[in-house]
């Protein structure tokens, strides 16, 4: 464990967008943000679920523009800093500039775990704007630790202040989490972060292991509000860290209130480790595929689990939501012939 205070990065308003098909109202975001701020969360991330400029047919259109969400949340924060996510290939430097101009402090640049070099443009640009810059290596379960470290070192060399092990599929086992964070700590000079999904029911457990292995920043969402079975449930994590005497500086009660009174009532489709969500972790599939898969399964009358397994077989990665319909159409054809 590090001696520095652990930095908590909330994802309720960004990863949580996936769970609502990007349909938060501005008011809902503001009410949740006020509670997070009251709880003294360090960083609150606001973006489309797929990062800035994620509004698209492929990923879904949000109810409001990113400018509207970011501005509204910014205006109610007294303690917390604002973060935003950006995926090169979806968003561009122009979006980083927009976020910076709206008062976003931290930009997190996310690439697939083997493609760190496409983040150079964005990391260097964000550094030139004097932002706090995080590199975010997604689907970290897919490659050996040594390769992950190499990719992380690229992000470090471009100027990232922190590099994340991102378990986008919620597929990392416990010993793998410890191994990856430990290796990152040993080989990098910058901060290390951990983000995960609860698809195998290891949301809190793996995050605690990451903290014990020396992670400086960890992510979570209130009531788990995130893609798939959700993220590490933040109020549970904080309860556990308090019991362990780990200093987060976060107050538990406002988070519990936010979870019970604000977030859970919004979940039309419960964010939980049910069959389809479990399948994501089991097959190692990107968590935000869940709702898109359920929609395609219904439209084309095939089993969503078959779609998820096939997506895993085809080695599809984050962002390839278009291939969900492609797989569904193939399965449908197979069924009828």
């Amino acid at each position: 464990m590090t001696d520095q205070k652990l930095i908590i990065n909330d994802c309720t308003l960004r990863d949580g967008m996936h769970a609502l098909a990007h349909q938060y109202t501005v008011d809902q975001m503001v009410e949740i943000a006020k509670k997070l701020d009251e709880a003294k969360i360090d960083l609150i991330e606001v973006s489309h679920g797929d990062g800035l400029n994620g509004n698209s047919v492929n990923y879904g259109f949000s109810r409001h523009t990113e400018e509207e969400y970011i501005t509204a949340v910014r205006d109610v924060l007294t303690h917390s800093k604002l973060a935003a996510l950006l995926l090169p290939g979806i968003g561009t430097r122009e979006d980083i500039k927009m976020a910076k101009d709206l008062g976003v402090d931290t930009i997190r640049i996310a690439t697939h775990c083997t493609e760190a070099d496409i983040s150079r443009q964005h990391i260097e640009y964000a550094r030139s704007l004097d932002m706090d810059v995080v590199g975010f290596l997604m689907m970290a379960h897919m490659i050996p630790t040594s390769q992950l470290v190499e990719q992380a070192k690229l992000m470090e060399s471009y100027g990232a202040h922190c590099v994340y092990v991102t378990d986008s599929a919620g597929a990392l086992l416990m010993h793998e989490t410890t191994e990856k964070i430990t290796a990152m700590r040993e080989n990098l000079d910058v901060q290390i972060g951990f983000h995960n999904h609860h698809n195998l029911g290891l949301g809190v457990a793996n995050t605690i292991l990451a903290i014990e292995a020396g992670a400086h920043r960890v992510d979570g969402s209130v009531a788990g509000m995130g893609a798939g079975a959700g993220n590490c449930p933040l109020e549970v994590l904080i309860a556990v860290t308090e019991r362990m005497n780990i200093n987060t500086g976060v107050d538990l009660y406002p988070l519990m209130d936010a979870a019970d009174k604000l977030v859970r009532p919004l979940q039309q489709r419960p964010v939980q480790t049910d069959g389809n969500a479990l399948m994501l972790g089991y097959a190692g599939v990107y968590s935000s595929f869940l709702l898109h898969t359920e929609r395609a399964a219904k439209l084309h009358d095939v089993d969503p689990r078959d779609i998820l397994v096939e997506l895993g077989n085809r080695r599809m990665i984050g962002g390839q939501e278009d291939m969900i319909v492609d797989v569904a159409l193939d399965l449908k054809r197979k069924k009828t012939t």
Partner: protein, 314 residues
């Protein structure tokens, strides 16, 4: 006098990387109307220049100056393909246009208008410099263009998935240029009122063939006619990119009132058309999975061929 000399047009290729070398092989093997006079590189030890020498093509490793200073070769060269970089292209453009050469630009520089052969080459046939947009643009703009000939396309979006191994250092260092340039091409050439482009690099091994998905939100129109137009344009592109094909029947979804909500735009009642494509490369110099590179070189060669025919006719 050999009659072929009357009908072949001399060309030069700038850049001896993957794209330049694939283009060299394609032209030599598949395009009798073009003759490669010189292959221009900056690295004497590059594989591309070695390939060119082995194939009997004159080479220089002194960049554009090596071409300009070789007066015989320059005289014979009518069209120059630039497969270097956007940064280098500006100077190439100045020098070459000063000598009256026609330029087919495969870099993201876009000094000249965007060209997608099946859609708008005729319009720009006499331009001194034409730009090939991007690989994703060459693969997807034909679909948007075909739809916009029959109905209004309010919004066009494409997702290009390419194998990580086929994305060179230039693409990787400039990924924003892909999204920005392709989006503009969807609007300017494809005719969509608003364009959006997404690119995904997938590291799967064995490498995956390039996939492209095109979404168009259109004013509702006869679906059979739209489907037929998509199939026709795919056939037309396949004439110059043999590995270009439809993977699924086009999918149509009608969004009646209130329609699809796009933040910043509002509700759009529309017909959503989804087209699933695959581009398998010819495997000339680059492996077959690199359909993204193949479609650039194939489309550029097609443009060169048509410009050559035009120059011969003048």
């Amino acid at each position: 006098m050999n009659t072929s000399e009357n009908t072949t047009t001399g060309v030069a290729i700038l850049g001896s990387g993957n794209i330049g070398t694939d283009l060299l092989i394609k032209i030599q093997e598949k395009c009798p109307s073009l003759h490669v006079e010189m292959m221009v590189g900056i690295d004497p030890d590059s594989d591309g220049l070695a390939k060119a020498r082995a194939r009997g093509v004159k080479t220089t490793h002194e960049g554009i100056d090596g071409l300009i200073n070789d007066t015989d070769v320059l005289e014979r060269t009518k069209i120059v393909f630039d497969a270097t970089s956007a940064g280098a292209h500006a100077r190439h453009h100045e020098l070459l246009t000063a000598h009256g050469k026609r330029i087919v630009d495969l870099t993201p520089a876009a000094i000249g208008p965007y060209v997608v052969p099946v859609a708008n080459l005729k319009e720009h046939i006499d331009q001194p410099n034409v730009n090939m947009v991007t690989c994703g643009g060459q693969a997807t703009i034909p679909i948007i263009w075909a739809l916009s000939q029959l109905t209004e396309v309010f919004y066009g979006e494409i997702v290009a998935s390419i194998s990580s191994r086929s994305a060179g250092p230039g693409t990787r260092a400039n990924i924003d240029e892909f999204t920005v340039t392709t989006s503009r091409g969807i609007e300017q050439v494809g005719g969509a009122q608003k364009g959006k482009a997404i690119i995904i690099l997938n590291p799967a091994d064995p490498p995956l063939i390039m996939r492209d998905t095109v979404y168009a939100l259109c004013k509702p129109a006869d679906q059979d006619k739209l489907a037929a137009a998509i199939k026709d344009v795919v056939k037309e592109v396949a004439l110059y990119v043999p590995g270009y094909r439809l993977v699924q029947e086009p999918v149509f979804e009608l969004f009646d009132e209130p329609g699809i909500f796009i933040p910043g735009t509002g509700h759009v009642t529309c017909l959503k058309v989804s087209t699933f494509l695959e581009v398998e490369g010819a495997g000339d110099y680059l492996p077959k999975y690199a359909g993204n590179l193949d479609i650039m070189t194939s489309a550029a060669m097609r443009v060169g061929e048509i410009i050559a025919k035009r120059l011969q006719a003048l």
